[in-house]
Symmetry: C2
Subunit: 112 residues, 2 copies
DNA sequence: TTATTATGTTCTATATATGAATCAAAGGAA
DNA sequence: TTCCTTTGATTCATATATAGAACATAATAA
């Protein structure tokens, strides 16, 4: 990760992460799960779980999704099956669309 | 990250990430945005965007949220304002709940 | 109150995700 | 077809997120 400069995030992204973290925290309490227990189930450290619950945007999305799934927070869809359905549908749409994005040539316009 | 062993993810998490990636890809095409352009707007590299669209679970959630937000994919809520409302509501609930999870003492039962 | 457990916080070593560069392959326009 | 662009797929150097430990603080039960 060379040339890295502190990344900026939009307010919406920060709110979304904070909300998801709070939802996880709430769900964990309702499930009567210790931070350590939930972390163990998700295969992550307690420290990482804490950062997730705080809405830290630098956590890997896989860890966040795992934790959310364990405590019963459904991403995107209410019933589980709809997820894969929508996935297949989306992928079918993709095959029918142009493979690459291409706008009108800039080169030709620029030089003359 | 010591003692790291290839992390495993649930099928649901993998599907969720794959779906989100496909949705991003689709939205990007509809917005007529080049991968490079979207990556620039999100402040990430094109390679990272590629992995996000592939549903790679090891990407940082902040980058994924940024990209999703830019192409108009709303996380969790349809209208933007409801997000913060729900956030405040959730945090209020948290203050009314026990601060820590504690089950009946195991020590006392175990030894005697 | 006291004892015990959960959570918060900081630190360090290291595994690894990321940015950048490169090349190949594919796609769309003329 | 030929050109130009976009995308896919590598590779590598390095910035950094993570695991783990240690400790402090907070919170619950008795």
């Amino acid at each position: 990760m060379p040339k890295s400069i502190a990344r900026t995030y939009s307010q919406y992204s920060r709110d979304a992460a904070a909300l998801l973290g709070s939802l996880i925290r709430e769900a964990r309490n309702e499930h009567k799960l210790t931070a350590q227990e939930l972390a163990d189930r998700a295969g992550i450290s307690r420290g990482l779980l804490q950062r997730i619950e705080k809405g830290n945007l630098k956590c890997e999305i896989g860890a966040v999704f795992e934790v959310a799934t364990i405590v019963g927070i459904k991403l995107f869809e209410a019933d589980g099956n709809a997820l894969t359905k929508q996935l297949h549908h989306t992928k079918e749409k993709l095959t029918l669309m142009p493979k690459s994005v291409r706008r009108k040539s800039r080169k030709v316009i620029d030089d003359f």
